[in-house]
Amino acid sequence: MAAGTLPERAGVAWREPVDARALRARGRLWTLSTAAHSVPFVATAGLLVGIEPGLAPVSALALAHAWAIPELYANRGAKVVRPQRRGDAAAERTALGLLGDLIGHEARELHARTGLVAERGRLGVWLVGEAGALLVRPGGRRVLCWCVRADDASLPSADRTAHLLLALREDETGFATVANLAFSGATWRVARRLAPGMRPALRAAARMARG
C-alpha cells in the first residue's frame, strides 16, 4: 500500500478509489435514481388530471409520493451525523480538549454550537460527526452523506469525531472509499432533515464550498 494511504483501505480492496471523478459519477447516478423514482408519479399526476379533473385528489397523492421519496432518502443521509449516546462526562470533557487541540478556532466554535467539525479537503468541505460525515462539494449545491465510524463504541463522542478527523486528514480519498455512501443530493434537502442545531454547520460548509 502506498505511503499516505489509509490502511483501512485494505479491508475494502475491491472498491475503486473515490476521487473527484468518482464523486461526480455517483452524484449523477443518485440524480438519475431520484428522477426514476419521482418522475413516474409526477407524470401519473399530470395524466390523471388531464383525463379527468375530478381525479385531482389522486393526482395530489401522486405528487406527494414524488416529493416524499427523495425526502426519505435525504433523511437517511442526514441520520449519519445524528448525535450518539453520551458517555462519562469527565471522559467527554477530556476528549473534547484533545479534539479542540486538533482544530482551529473557527472549527472549534462551530463544533461547540453544532457538534460537527468543518474540514476543508480537496474533494470539498467535510462536516465530520461522531459516526458519519457530510461532504459538501465545491459550489455548495450537492452534499454526500457518508456512514463511517471508529470501531470502538465505548469512545467518548469527541474522540469518535477525532478518530474520523485524523483518518480523513491522513487520506481523504481513502476515507471516502472506506465509508459507505448513504445519500447524495441537494444541500437544501439534507439541511431540512438535519437536527435544527446542526443546520448552521451545513450552511457554513456550503459557504466555504462556494468560496
Partner: protein, 68 residues
C-alpha cells in the same frame, strides 16, 4: 484515544534514550493491539507512522475506522 478521553502512554525526548526506548516499546504494544499511530501536522494534515518518531511533539493512537 480511549474510553477515558485519552491516556498519555509515554513521554520521551530525543536526548533521553531510556525514555525513548520505553516509549517505543509502549508504541509497538499499541500497534500490536490494533491501533494506528498518527502524527498531526497542523490543520488539515496528518501522517500515519509505523515507528515512533523521536522528534514528534505528539503521536496519537487511533482505532481503525469502517463504513457503518
Amino acid at each position: 484515544m480511549d474510553r477515558t478521553g485519552h491516556t498519555t502512554l509515554a513521554e520521551w525526548s530525543a536526548a533521553d534514550d531510556a525514555a525513548f526506548a520505553a516509549a517505543a516499546e509502549a508504541f509497538r504494544e499499541q500497534l500490536d493491539a490494533g491501533y494506528y499511530a498518527v502524527v498531526s501536522e497542523g490543520e488539515g494534515q496528518a501522517r500515519q507512522v509505523t515507528a515512533l518518531p523521536a522528534d514528534a511533539d505528539l503521536v496519537i493512537l487511533r482505532r481503525p475506522i469502517a463504513g457503518g
